[in-house]
Symmetry: C2
Subunit: 426 residues, 2 copies
């Protein structure tokens, strides 16, 4: 198979004509397919249905410390749920606050409180001339939406296969007091599936921020979301920060949204004692407490990390073939033609496709024309601006395998067509 | 029985000696009783245990519009939960957003968003020199804690038996653009159990605020919490505001915390379309959605307003005798001596006792000495400052009837003792 860049004009024109014919046929099929959403498939959710049986009207709804979980009380989570979350992200129960159903909401609250009240006694961000956040790109659109909403200036940090470009991170964090945070998805990053190397985590822990209230927003969203038998582990950021003498420098977030049920899971923050005290001082004004019965439900169902592991293996068995299907088509149709690349993820929810520069928007638009919905081009970047217009996030989990196969084949045709057009226009 | 104010010095001294002896005996009993907490008793919670059975692993977890409730999606609540909440507070489903488990959290968020982003396009409160809130007193301590945390100046508004002193409310709201809100518990107010009269509600709706972003924070916490067969109703504030040409002037809050389970209930806001749009614009950044399965669980269990009504009657049967017990002791021991008064509540969770001026703190302290915990004196006031030091909130629901009887008898002795001491010191 010839690389497109090596084709002469005539060959490209021929290829274009043939692809246009194919694209025309696809459009006639009137497809309606969706590879845009990082949502579990219904089959994954079916796996957790037994969770609906672990509590019933005969259950003793008490926590191990004797608290009646049906009543008010307990701001920071029931002890056994703290234990479960601690095991899940590899920290200690005393470093955990278990919240309600949404880790995104916890992150939003952390930023909102920093803006209004400041962190651990420092100046509220809303009173500062400028606040900046580092944003490894491509990254998670909903992170960027939060910082954008608060008028925080976002600075792109390129990702490498080891994590964010740490030279750049150090340069910003250690010198610019306006830099107050960085968004990280350290394991199976959204959308590239990159796992931060030990070196990267250690360099994070060794940061010497110019701002005393700089925090790493460590969204460990895919801590247990392995696709393969081999479970990739990352260094424990809380532990590393403590060792490096910066115990307060990190907020770690996680949830069971893609373990049990999105929207009906439990979410948590883990951080140093000083950070947790600071949070609880405000949290006690904000709410009387979270849903303790749902916390108990999760503990009764999963029991411990082994329970979570077993459950996630079943999920992996369902979604691994989907990831492999996407990669197979890309490997057959795209890679040999030299018109796109991706990193093969070992976990998480996405494949990040990198087209030739200037092609992403057009690919997404043409896919839509053909009835295949993709995440908007630019979405994985602050202000939705992909500087090279090249990244497309593919979410393989939600469609059925059949739909996914169809969708990714359409995608491949569109990538080829758009690239040919691009090359011809040059 | 002679009124204390009519006793001469010798009679007071005699009374004091006898009460001191009695108080001494009580202390020796080493009691440990609690009338401080507005929490349902375990027997009330037992009534809702069947809710734990309405969903199981065989249930179809879909909403009536076909959405899979186990997955992401739906920011503003499932349709059938909106319907249930609408019936509960007498509004329309399209005016409702169903949230997570805590109406207090919704109120906090409304204030936080007003501070950071402003309401419906108006200037964020954090950028204003001064923001004031009107606080009908006595009121709910957690309302006041929110406004205090944000540095909002709180202005006491005396309560009458018809609701807040509306002359004063009108004077402030219609003339002072710094007044941005008022905290209201319109039905069975916390702590007095006062029900706002139709006249009061209409005067609220007819306000012509100096601030365009003034909002009534209408915490309809006890909408269905009747103690007696006769259900007191209040006028529908959303409807009245709309009729008066001020549809956007009110946020109404409610929850099932004291209907199903505190902490595991569902909470909601109801407001005009313009307000809901404004809220959703921000909410979509803040969270992906709330616990839809728990929303479904509530709908399946209560079904409709009749289901809620039937359930609340059972709760009333459990707590009405507790309220009556407290009132009986007060009527026998306190009223005839002219040393305290209260309004007889027909619903809600509290009895607000008014001692002679300058006695509340001492009564609470002496009760504690005798092993009876009461809500801190001052708690029902902004900044915890009761200007007359006379109000004590009694919460009869949580202790058993036996414990409550004991506690309130101790309370009566202490009220007498403290009042005698007070009169002797004058």
């Amino acid at each position: 198979m010839k690389k497109y860049q090596e084709m002469n004009r005539n060959e490209l024109l021929e290829e274009k004509a043939s692809l246009e014919a194919e694209f025309g046929k696809i459009k006639e099929m009137g497809l309606s397919l969706d590879m845009s959403r990082g949502k579990p498939g219904a089959d994954q959710l079916d796996l957790a249905m037994d969770m609906m049986d672990v509590l019933d009207s005969k259950s003793l709804l008490k926590s191990e410390n004797g608290i009646d979980l049906r009543n008010y009380g307990i701001l920071d989570g029931i002890p056994e749920a703290k234990q479960l979350i601690a095991e899940m992200v590899g920290t200690k129960p005393e470093n955990v606050i278990v919240y309600g159903n949404s880790s995104l909401n916890i992150m939003y609250d952390q930023i909102a409180r920093a803006e209004i009240f400041g962190i651990c006694g420092s100046m509220p961000w809303s009173r500062l001339e400028k606040v900046k956040f580092l944003c490894p790109v491509p990254g998670y659109d909903r992170h960027f939406a939060i910082t954008e909403a608060f008028g925080i200036e976002m600075v792109n940090i390129p990702m490498t296969e080891e994590g964010p470009d740490m030279d750049l991170v150090e340069q910003y964090v250690n010198n610019d007091p306006a830099v107050k945070g960085i968004w990280c998805v350290p394991k199976y990053s959204n959308p590239q599936g990159i796992v931060y190397s030990d070196e990267t985590v250690r360099r994070f822990a060794a940061l010497t921020p110019a701002a005393e209230d700089f925090r790493i927003f460590w969204d460990n969203a895919y801590a247990v979301h392995h696709l393969y038998e081999e479970e990739t582990e990352i260094l424990n950021i809380l532990e590393e920060c403590e060792k490096a003498g910066h115990p307060d420098m990190v907020f770690q977030f996680c949830s069971t949204s893609k373990v049990s049920f999105p929207g009906a899971g439990i979410a948590a923050i883990s951080a140093s004692a000083a950070n947790l005290e600071d949070i609880k001082k405000r949290l006690t004004i904000q709410t009387i407490g979270h849903d303790k019965i749902n916390q108990l439900r999760h503990v009764k169902y999963f029991k411990n990390m082994d329970g979570i592991r077993t459950h996630m293996k079943k999920q992996a068995d369902l979604i691994r073939p989907k990831f492999e299907l996407v990669e197979k088509v890309l490997a057959e149709e795209i890679a040999p033609r030299g018109i796109g690349s991706w990193i093969s993820p070992k976990g998480g929810y996405f494949i990040s496709f990198e087209a030739l520069d200037g092609c992403a928007k057009e690919i997404v638009a043409k896919c839509k024309e053909a009835g295949v919905v993709l995440t908007g081009a630019g979405a994985p970047f602050p202000y939705k601006k992909d500087p090279k217009d090249s990244v497309i996030r593919i979410a393989p989990t939600y469609p059925s395998r059949e739909e996914l196969g169809e969708a990714v084949r359409v995608f491949a045709v569109v990538v080829r067509l758009v690239t040919v057009e691009k090359l011809l226009a040059e």
